[in-house]
């Protein structure tokens, strides 16, 4: 059942990303073009996505997930350097290409070689993260 839930969730996520315009890089970059010809669509996407999730989080209080032992606990770490540095680097990449991880994967079936190339580079970046993270922390410790 966990797999069925995961499949339905992934499918719904994918179609939602497609219909909302998140897989359209001109929409994403248009939304980020705050000082130019601003396209407000993505604000509605974010807002629309928050509503069910806000209710869902309320619903988790004092309950258990249907097919798991417990709900994810809050992260113990605070706002740290990795969070800020990582978010800024992600934002630069998002602005450059107009793709973030979910829409990039969702567009693999129709986005041609651009989506494929972006996803390959993204996977490489993810693969290299643990070793780069180690180097950053060791160099700042010395």
């Amino acid at each position: 059942m966990r797999r069925l839930v995961a499949f339905c969730s992934g499918s719904l996520f994918g179609v939602g990303l497609l219909l909302s315009g998140m897989t359209d890089t001109s929409k994403v970059q248009g939304w980020l073009d705050f000082f130019g010809n601003w396209d407000p669509t993505l604000a509605f996407v974010m807002g629309g996505a928050m509503v069910p999730m806000f209710i869902a989080w309320r619903f988790t209080e004092g309950r258990k997930p249907i097919y798991a032992e417990k709900f994810p606990s809050r992260s113990q770490s605070n706002i740290d350097r990795d969070l800020i540095l990582g978010s800024v680097l992600f934002g630069v990449g998002w602005g450059l290409a107009g793709l973030c991880p979910g829409p990039a994967i969702a567009s693999l079936g129709f986005g041609g070689s651009q989506s494929a190339l972006f996803v390959l580079a993204m996977l490489l970046g993810m693969r290299l993260t643990p070793s780069i993270r180690l180097q950053i922390s060791s160099s700042s410790a010395t």
Binding site: G10, L42, P65, A68, L83, P101, A106, F118, L124, M126
Partner: protein
């Protein structure tokens, strides 16, 4: 369509949370496979990603939906952006779906802070691209 698509994204995240007790963060679901850090839930993740790849394409086929990423054909920008998105989201431990949708709706301080930083960085990047370089139309 933005609102409808957004609601679907929120419902997908709610289903994943209430059903499987997991946060629907795209970068975490992919990253946990790529660096094998969360290998125990590998099948759930793979099945999620299969749905994520197949469903939009099937929708496009059935409803003859016009889909185009309109992504740049500049290979260097695509590779650089991909590397930054991959590394950045793993370092920050989340992206638009995990920190943005799931984090903000939980009123998570980390989720809110991350979203402020990546949107700010995205806005600056697009402003530079458009005004200084003129690389995007």
């Amino acid at each position: 369509m933005g609102l409808v698509g957004g609601l679907m994204i929120g419902l997908a995240a709610s289903l994943y949370l209430l059903g499987n007790g997991r946060i629907m963060g795209a970068s975490g679901i992919i990253g946990g496979l790529v660096d094998k850090s969360e290998w125990s839930s590998a099948t759930d993740r793979i099945v999620f990603l299969i749905g994520l790849i197949l469903a939009p394409s099937i929708y496009i086929f059935i409803f003859e939906f016009e889909a185009d990423t309109k992504a740049t054909t500049n290979v260097i920008i695509l590779i650089l952006a991909g590397l930054l998105v991959g590394f950045g989201t793993r370092l920050a431990n989340g992206c638009t779906s995990g920190h943005g949708v799931c984090g903000i709706s939980r009123l998570s301080i980390r989720g809110i802070a991350s979203t402020v930083f990546y949107i700010f960085a995205g806005v600056v990047t697009v402003a530079l691209l458009r005004n200084l370089w003129g690389a995007i139309q």
